[in-house]
């Protein structure tokens, strides 16, 4: 079974290589031509050395004199062959390298394009680390055998040429070649077959060790504060030990095969000496031919290894290719429509949810997806502010994502000014609505680029206006390079509140007609938040003033600003109305928004009998609920 699988891998690996050749036929031709030239020159050099020894050296030493012309010719031929070999090397290595790098670049472009095209639901189903390695190491692995491929192809041609030239020289010596070359080839194949699974195991263990290090260092604070360094080290050490054993295993196999691959051609040369001497005695060959063939065996040994390199890399290449293919073949794009909302219309947009259902697709196909939202209907009328309120996990962020069409509903429709969001063009959608997410995301770029995002019509004035509205102008002005300051991974690190205000300014800069705030000011100081919200609701002037607002909030001050409140529980709209109405009629809502007051009230009460039953008071309240 194992051999059947590996034969299958071999076949598929060759298919992947064929695909590479079809994609880069010209550069591959250059590389193989160079490699074949090199191979032929290797054979030629053997015969020239043989001729030089047999026809120049032997007679010269026998005669005790030498003609300058013959000597010069011999020297020139040897050097000339070297020059041609250099040409071959250039063609082969440059071609192979360029081909490999071009394929890598092309596939990185294709894979990342898919990332941009595929919907968020697809992104949710795939771990970030996997997507990163798909675009990086998997693409690299898929095209790894391309580097030695032209060399291997040239070597095959060279081997055929060598056998032919052997037959042209002498059938006796040719038989030695027929014994040694296939043996060498077979040894290479066996070597790479046995090496491949060991390499794969080592690679897998490397990834595991790296995963543990990543996780453990990410959680360093927890490890440290709980004093679990020793246990974490033991966990790491056991995997590092497995990796060590796997690598020693790889090394031992290398130790068996490498010296054998060295020795086999040497044994061939020795056989040539014996057979050659016999044939010389029979007068079938000359000294020159004997030396040529012996030399040929010496110089052929190294190139034959190239075939082994290609074979050894094939399983990894196939594995990488399969993972890359999975991304390229993934379906489920969210195509945009061709309806365009009137851009010139400066009035706020109307958002409506009609009987919307939503569920995340399961991570594995056979599992049922869980429904996150059901029968959600509500409207954010033009120019109004609607607050979404509900306990943790009620589906508020999902509604925010649906409103800006990050995801599509399973059933029902989401409309903007009466048009289904699925019918809108990407540009129209992006210019109409803006989402400020719960966790701010800042690009590794300048402040200006982070806010403008290269959108047309957003110059420095607009950027500053948006920063002012988001109460971010103060700290941005204080940054070392102002708008040109690099932020994100490599730049100045901003506090959570600063990042939130930056992403808020990004949303405002586009003058959206509908603004969706998903708990977007949680890290901003309450006083600053109040100022921002007041600015957004200002009747005239400034960007964003002319927007409808859908806001996810816990803070009562934020909720109180809303014209209407939608109360959610477990993915269903439980109630809607003004804050005051809901407070009076919906107990769940009242519990949630008055939790702090309630707590204070309870505290006042418990304090009085705290003295009597201090230990159970907290739990009793719990039981009552």
């Amino acid at each position: 079974m194992a051999s059947g699988t590996s034969r299958d891998v071999l076949g598929r690996g060759l298919w992947v290589l064929g695909r590479a050749i079809r994609e880069q036929p010209r550069i591959f031709t250059v590389a193989v031509s160079g490699s074949v030239l090199f191979g032929l020159m290797v054979i030629a050099s053997a015969f020239v050395v043989g001729r030089v020894v047999g026809d120049v050296v032997v007679p010269a030493i026998a005669r005790g004199s030498v003609g300058a012309g013959v000597l010069a010719l011999a020297a020139a031929s040897l050097f000339g062959i070297s020059v041609l070999r250099v040409v071959g090397i250039f063609g082969r290595r440059l071609g192979a390298g360029y081909m490999q790098f071009r394929l890598q670049a092309a596939y990185r472009r294709r894979v990342t394009r898919r990332y941009l095209d595929l919907p968020l639901s697809w992104h949710h189903r795939n771990a970030t680390g996997t997507l990163l390695s798909n675009a990086n190491s998997d693409v690299e692995a898929a095209w790894y055998p391309i580097a030695p491929l032209p060399f291997a192809v040239g070597t095959l041609v060279m081997l055929v040429g060598a056998v032919v030239s052997l037959f042209l020289t002498d059938w006796g010596l040719a038989l030695v070649g027929l014994a040694v070359f296939p043996a060498l080839f077979a040894l290479n194949v066996v070597y790479s077959r046995r090496m491949a699974p060991r390499q794969a195991r080592a690679q897998r263990l490397r990834a595991e060790v790296s995963g543990i290090a990543h996780e453990s260092f990410d959680g360093a604070l927890v490890v440290k504060t709980m004093g679990r360094e020793a246990q974490e080290t033991a966990r790491f050490a056991s995997h590092a030990g497995e990796l060590r054993d796997a690598l020693i295993d790889v090394g031992r196999l290398r130790g068996v095969f490498d010296p054998m691959l060295e020795t086999l051609p040497s044994l061939g040369t020795l056989a040539v000496l014996v057979v050659g001497a016999i044939r010389l005695q029979q007068g079938a060959i000359s000294v020159a031919e004997l030396v040529s063939v012996a030399f040929l065996f010496t110089v052929l040994a190294f190139p034959v290894r190239a075939i082994g390199w290609v074979l050894a890399e094939l399983p990894r290449s196939v594995a990488g290719w399969d993972r890359v293919r999975r991304v390229l073949d993934a379906t489920g794009e969210m195509p945009y429509g061709d309806t365009v909302l009137d851009r010139a219309d400066p009035t706020p947009a109307t958002l409506a949810f009609h009987d919307v259902h939503f569920g995340y697709e399961p991570a594995e196909a056979h599992l049922p997806g869980t429904e996150v939202l059901g029968e959600v209907s509500f409207t954010v009328p033009a120019g109004k502010t609607v607050a979404l309120v509900g306990p943790t996990g009620a589906g508020k962020s999902t509604i925010a994502s649906l409103a800006v069409r990050l995801v599509d509903p399973r059933a029902g429709t989401v409309t903007l000014d009466g048009a289904d969001v699925r019918d809108l063009t990407a540009a129209s959608l992006a210019s109409t609505v803006a989402l400020v997410a719960q966790v701010p995301f800042v690009f590794d770029d300048t402040v200006r680029a982070n806010i403008a995002l290269d959108r047309p019509g957003i110059g420095d004035d607009e950027v500053w206006a948006a920063l002012r509205l988001a109460e971010a102008d103060g700290f941005v002005a204080a940054l070392p390079d102002g708008l040109d300051t690099m932020v994100g991974e490599r730049g100045t690190s901003l506090s959570g509140g600063q990042r939130q205000r930056l992403t808020l300014a990004r949303a405002l800069a586009g003058r959206p007609r509908l603004l969706v705030l998903d708990d977007a000011t949680s890290a901003v100081d309450p006083r600053v938040e109040a100022a921002i919200l007041a600015g957004l609701r200002a009747p005239t002037g400034g960007p964003g003033a002319a927007a409808s607002i859908l806001v996810v909030a816990y803070r009562r001050a934020t909720i109180a600003l809303a014209d209407e409140v939608i109360y959610l529980e477990q993915g269903r709209v439980l109630a809607r109305g003004t804050h005051t109405e809901l407070l009076a009629t919906v107990s769940g809502y009242a519990d949630l928004v008055t939790a702090y007051e309630q707590a204070e009230h309870d505290r006042e009460q418990t304090r009085t009998y705290d003295e009597v039953t201090p230990l159970t008071s907290g739990l009793e309240v719990e039981v009552d609920r």
């Binding site: 020894v53 990185r108 504060t225 709980m226 080290t233 690598l247 290398r254 309870d602």
Partner: protein, 590 residues
């Protein structure tokens, strides 16, 4: 560009010496390995010698098959021995080096955990991970192929030169002269090649950053319709990396071409000079032929050198980076065996003139003097950036004060053994990091011996039984990478349970429930009040509901304690910092 100059700062030899000093096991059986390697290399020159003897004594001047047979048989026997030695040499080499490097890897991992928070800041975390992963991988990968090739080829160079000298010093000189310019050129290229590969690595880093951005920022890219802009950024980075790779390979090819030309020159020179010498009867035909064979043995190491030396440089640089991490002295060190234990029972807290500043920064806390009695529940409040989180970090000895001392029940923290400190003092950070395991395994982190029943009981005591029941698989629910299968608030609940079951005498909460909805937070607060009775708790609070429930509130402003006392007392002055904070809190909650 970045990191390149410093990589050159230390000589290769010094790095090797440091490395060997750190892993003395690398030297075990080294002498035996070297002897085996030398014998293995003899096999490389066996064939040319056989050719010489066969030609001189068995073929030229009267064919003698017996001599040829003898020469071949002896050489074959030698090859069997050398091949076996080659196997044994590699086996020893790999076993010793992999074992030593696994040790280095594990030691570096532990060392990173022993470094203080200052060294573990998130910006540096990625590079710390590569210290114990890709840097060590680079060394082992190099040893697996390049190291052996380098050793064998260097040996081949030496042995070949010796045999050549034995045949003819004149021809050896010809070969050396032919190779001299090539060696010089390759040395020059070596430096350019190193910087070219440095550029490749740097561009790769940039590319990875941008790919990560396009994956992590997918929602923003989609929401703002900036796929085109992102695609352009990606293309630029992909193309830049390709250009760098192509530049590196061009330099590398020039190197091998120079070696090849030198080989041609050497062959031609050997023929011309050899024939001239042969005519003078100082050189036999067999010797001259053997020399032509030996020249090819001389070429290979020189050609391979360009590639392998570059790999060697990378491996050495990787090793240096690992050693550099190991050389950072842990600035917050465990006093170890000499340390003291915390006295049993509830702990009191004392800050004695504590000042703290981040390296190169202004003080974050100024001369803080504070006494907190055992069993009290204290809330620390203040605006963002007031220094309240620094409090928590000093109290749990994640950092040491710049001046002054923190004492727990009279014992200076610096003298407390870590195993005592970490089992008695537990902090719940705001980012409740979870490991990619089940809820139960995460809660059990500090106390693996707890049973499921005990964990369930803990959740019940915290008032979280309903929440736990609502999870798809209860305690066995997988939390995903970094806990991302749970919401931010739910992660905080698990982190809190984890700290609770650790059963500490001093519990430090650093905005531990900031992402939980108000109703749940209040419920949790009550449960915590009950279960933490009899222990000391210090809570850094963002929401003032926590402060209202505390025995005492400590108000921090610009690194100083400006107010302290029970909530009811502090609110009496509406103009005070706490009064203002509380007014604003009321404003947004009702």
């Amino acid at each position: 560009m970045t990191g390149e100059p410093e990589e050159q700062a230390e000589s290769t030899w010094r790095t090797l010496r440091r490395g060997l000093a750190l892993s003395p096991e690398l030297k075990t059986g080294l002498a035996g390995t070297v002897v085996l390697a030398l014998i293995y290399m003899v096999g490389r020159v066996a064939v040319p010698v056989a050719v010489q003897r066969g030609i001189d004594h068995g073929i030229i001047g009267g064919l003698d098959l017996g001599v040829v047979w003898r020469v071949v048989a002896v050489t074959a026997a030698v090859l069997v021995v050398t091949t076996t030695c080659g196997y044994l040499m590699m086996r020893r080499l790999f076993t010793v080096s992999e074992t030593a490097l696994a040790g280095v890897r594990t030691r570096a991992f532990r060392h990173v955990h022993d470094l203080s928070m200052l060294h573990q800041q998130s910006e540096r975390r990625g590079s710390l991970v590569s210290r114990v992963t890709s840097d060590v991988d680079q060394i082992t990968t190099f040893l697996q192929w390049g190291g052996v090739i380098l050793i064998v080829n260097l040996g081949q160079l030496v042995v070949t030169t010796i045999v050549m000298l034995a045949y003819s010093w004149q021809l050896t000189l010809v070969v050396l002269v032919a190779f001299a310019p090539a060696v010089l050129v390759i040395r020059l290229l070596q430096r350019r090649l190193a910087s070219a590969y440095g550029l490749v690595r740097q561009r790769m880093g940039t590319l990875l950053g941008i790919i990560a951005e396009s994956v992590v920022g997918a929602p923003v890219i989609r929401a703002y319709g900036i796929a085109g802009r992102t695609a352009r950024r990606l293309d630029t980075a992909i193309e830049g990396q390709r250009q760098a790779q192509q530049r590196a390979i061009r330099i590398s090819i020039v190197g091998s071409s120079v070696g090849e030309l030198a080989a041609g020159l050497a062959l031609a020179g050997v023929v011309v000079v050899g024939v001239t010498l042969g005519v003078d009867r100082t050189l036999s035909i067999g010797q001259l032929t053997a020399f032509l064979f030996l020249v090819t043995l001389f070429i290979q190491p020189v050609q391979i050198a360009t590639e392998v030396l570059n790999e060697a440089q990378n491996a050495i640089a990787g090793w240096r980076r690992v050693l550099d991490v190991l050389d950072i002295a842990p600035d917050v060190a465990d006093p170890g065996a000499q340390g003291r234990e915390l006295p049993p029972g509830p702990l009191d807290i004392r800050f004695a003139g504590v000042t703290f500043a981040y390296p190169g920064g202004p003080p974050v806390l100024h001369d803080v003097r504070l006494d907190i009695p055992a069993k009290s529940r204290v809330a620390v409040v203040g605006e963002t950036g007031s220094g309240k989180t620094t409090f928590a970090k000093l109290l749990t000895r994640l950092m040491d004060p710049t001046a002054g001392e923190v004492l727990l029940s009279g014992v200076p923290l610096r003298q407390v053994r870590f195993d005592s400190l970490r089992s008695r003092v537990v902090m719940v950070p705001q980012d409740g990091f979870l490991f990619d395991a089940t809820v139960g395994e995460n809660v059990r982190f500090a106390r693996p011996e707890l049973t499921d029943a005990e964990l369930t009981a803990a959740f019940t005591e915290l008032g979280l039984a309903d929440w736990l029941d609502g999870l798809p698989a209860g305690l066995d629910t997988a939390v995903g990478e970094r806990g991302e299968a749970l919401s931010v608030g739910e992660r905080q609940l698990v982190a809190l349970a984890r700290a609770y079951v650790a059963d500490p005498d001093l519990l430090v909460l650093d905005e531990a429930t900031s992402a939980v909805d108000p109703a749940t937070e209040v419920r949790l607060q009550r449960a915590l009040d009950a279960v933490t009775r009899g222990r000391t708790t210090l809570a850094i609070a963002h929401r003032l509901s926590t402060a209202q429930a505390a025995d005492e509130v400590i108000v921090v402003d610009r690194g100083r304690i400006v107010q302290r006392g029970p909530h009811d007392e502090l609110v009496r002055d509406p103009e005070s910092i706490y009064g203002l904070l509380f007014a604003s809190w009321l404003e947004q909650t009702r």
